[in-house]
Symmetry: C2
Subunit: 487 residues, 2 copies
């Protein structure tokens, strides 16, 4: 049977599925995989996957997990030589509260004892009440976002406003649900800042196209841009969305990854409540968080949550139903979520070690953020904004005309061409800016700050050496061409 | 703001989402949850969740998991007192082969070393080649099914044939993707057997309604019906689907849960290859398996896989892309999948314990299957087919006319009415047959065989006592009414 006679031939499968694009697993990823299979070195700075590059898990987290995984260890006479007392007590508490242990399905919205830990965390972070019934545990924040968009997007006339550049989860999911993505540009020159005119422009453009904007997502700290919003930015977003009846989706998974003190992390939930009524009572807000980021990087366990504020109770029931079709979110990840939202306290046997491990990882990330920005800014025709938070650097590349022509000849976008050459010559795997959307006529790439410090200098050295060769090969950057293409 | 002005008001969210029904989390589930919150006893026989009811995990699985979770244990001088040598070696092998350990994202289709273990398992089970590139690891079989239906179903004119009764994952997912479910009835009187006329009838009905049947799912061993297909049934399915160009979806998650020897489990993959060309080369087949069933019951970890046979390479790429939007399936569950497909071998230190634990669980399930069938068949107006496999019993209830009237008066389906009363009076939580679809005019319920043996007798006793009271209250069954409503 010829391939295209098949029921599941590419030609005959769902168009929505085919339309969804996801650059993080695109051409660069595939090329890196082939390289790896051929036995060549690959440095994976393409994805926020800290443990893959050698970041160690926090001991307390893994000890508690080992104990809830194998409760017979709790009874073993040698266990007290291995585990600290609060590790043992915490494991016992989860085993008591999770019926059937971590091998049993939880409720579709997650284990109640962990939802309570999360609610307490939110409450003490923000200083406003939080309720475990409004907290919904998921297999990572990506799944949480898809649940919400599943309800929000009904067809091509429903729009989601998302930043440009954006994390491609949003474009891909909106595509899958047949909706329309309405990009609002962040201003690169002012540190990827948010501006009301850019929001308004995107909104009017959507309106003119007959699209109803039903949701607006922002990412703070930003991915791929590494920016942190000011308090006023968040206030502006509230006013903007309240006036236009738009649900706010707050992607706050990098809330612990902040490397400066001028713009500390403030949750959108707190801002809503700071503003008081009518905003705190009317604005529909859904916030996302994850165990995969922060200093934890527990990506492989797939855990996260969303908190709902002012969401219709019957719609919350629909989220519950949707989750129940998949039976249960993964349970061990909920234990991790419980721990990171309710970590060891001063005086607990594990407190010092937990805090030291956590702080050293964040301090090292801050050093690496500084180093990568300085590296890019020392390169001809390359400029990077500060990495104030998150795990990424998103420098702008002023590519020479000859390089742009060579890319065209190869049938590739110029930033893809650059990143492929970088991978080929250095083993460094990045994601081209076009995968995140970028202002017309500009070129970027995204790299993480995750190679460990002992290797980070070498990564920076290779980036610089590669770029120097590239510029020698293709000539000086053609800034006027760039400018022209933006007019 | 009034609830219905909200963007995410129930009235304004996606109709596809609202339409999807999922009985396992329906009214019975909600009522049981309320009961639990009120401090009353609930015996959860509503869902295949073995550990929730006290089934123990296999020691080898959890020891290996504890070691890969906390690799520092491998170095601890006391570890050799706690763990067997093959547990330590297996953990080391996973840690060597999974880059970054179980805290790192895996490839979207899962860790290669586990996909190889799965492929070897399939190959030795069936005696035909299997390739790790055709194996795709997921967060449980439910997610796997949704991936496939996502590609298969393009709109209301695309149909999926599914058994009646069916597991509601299929109806709910087809609803979410806006397709049409085309039910083919299993014949209860002959042990829920599959018949070609029933398949043809469903197919013609779909055709007449302008629906193109693109896929057919069968569940073997059956959920909720507990039947095991004959070899000839599987051959019939191949001929039926091949002739009509229908993708076969083989839900084989209960392949280890078989309690008789006349109809042992045979995989559809094996049957396809036994038949040879053109079937083995042309039939599009996707088979599903899970770590949540068998004697393992590792539901909370969410792990499973699907194997693709004769699926277009570009469509496989689309599955990969779809999975990549969610970044990675959960990694610890892959370790469990690796172990159950590649268990300890004779001579290994863990072999005897692993085998004994595994066999005792299955033997106990077989005893409970016998007991529950006998219990239902001893009840007035209740009849149950044999539970040949899986984890469920799906008896038919001949309800008295007065009970049917009382249900009507209460605004409930008769089987829902019965199950609610059962829950209220005994604490036993079941799922009404209407949640699975059932032949018109018949009533059923589904119970699991999962309460542990020390409690199982009491569950059976309560079922019997409740039913006796129910029949006393509502009178003798009205068999003629039943018959009439089927004509």
């Amino acid at each position: 049977m010829a391939a295209n006679n098949k029921v599941l031939s590419y030609e005959k499968i769902s168009a929505h599925l085919k339309r969804a694009e996801y650059a993080v697993a695109g051409e660069l990823f595939q090329t890196a995989q082939r390289r790896l299979k051929a036995g060549k070195e690959v440095i994976f700075t393409n994805i926020g996957n800290p443990h893959q590059l050698g970041q160690k898990p926090l001991t307390f987290i893994r000890h508690v997990l080992a104990l809830v995984t194998s409760p017979d260890l709790l009874e073993h006479p040698d266990a007290r030589n291995i585990f600290l007392n609060d590790e043992i007590e915490r494991a016992k508490s989860y085993l008591k509260n999770i019926q059937g242990g971590i091998g049993a399905y939880a409720a579709p919205n997650g284990t109640e004892c962990v939802r309570k830990e999360v609610a307490n965390f939110i409450q003490s972070r923000d200083g406003y009440p939080a309720c475990s019934d409004q907290v919904f545990l998921t297999n990572g924040a990506s799944e949480a976002v898809r649940y919400v968009l599943r309800a929000l997007i009904r067809g091509p006339h429903d729009g989601l406003m998302a930043p440009i550049p954006q994390y491609p989860l949003y474009s891909a999911s909106v595509g899958l649900y047949d909706g329309t993505l309405c990009g609002y540009e962040l201003d690169e020159a002012t540190g990827w800042s948010l501006s009301l005119p850019a929001l308004e422009q995107a909104y009017i453009k959507a309106q003119n196209a007959g699209v109803t904007v039903r949701g607006l997502v922002f990412i703070n700290p930003g991915n791929p841009t590494g920016n942190c919003f000011t308090y006023q930015n968040l206030v502006d977003l509230v006013y903007f969305c309240h006036q236009r009846n738009i649900v706010i989706l707050a992607d706050e998974v990098y809330q612990e990854n902040v490397y400066q003190s001028e713009r500390p992390f403030v949750s959108m939930k707190k801002v809503l409540h700071d503003l008081g009524t009518p905003y705190s009572a009317e604005c529909e807000l859904i916030s996302f968080h994850s165990i995969s980021k922060g200093p934890y990087g527990e990506c492989g366990w797939r855990g996260g949550y969303f908190e709902m504020v002012n969401i219709d109770a019957r719609t919350r029931q629909e989220f519950f139903k949707l989750a129940s079709i998949n039976l249960s979110p993964t349970v061990p990840s909920q234990v991790i979520l419980g721990i990171i939202t309710n970590p060891p306290k001063p005086g607990d046997p594990s407190y010092q070690r937990f805090t030291a491990e956590r702080e050293e990882i964040l301090a090292s990330m801050a050093r690496r953020a500084r180093m990568i920005v300085d590296t890019f800014n020392s390169m001809e025709g390359v400029s990077s904004q500060e990495v104030d938070g998150a795990m990424y650097c998103f420098p702008k590349l002023e590519l020479p005309a000859a390089a742009i022509q060579a890319a065209k000849d190869a049938g590739k976008k110029p930033d893809v061409f650059y990143c492929l050459k970088l991978l080929e010559e250095t083993g460094i795997s990045t994601v081209p800016g076009s995968g995140f959307e970028q202002a017309a006529g500009t070129y970027h790439l995204r790299t993480t700050i995750l190679p460990q410090e002992r290797e980070f200098g070498e990564v920076c050295r290779r980036l610089k050496a590669f770029h120097k060769n590239f510029m020698t090969q293709y000539g000086a950057p053609s800034a006027p061409v760039q400018l022209q293409s933006r007019l």
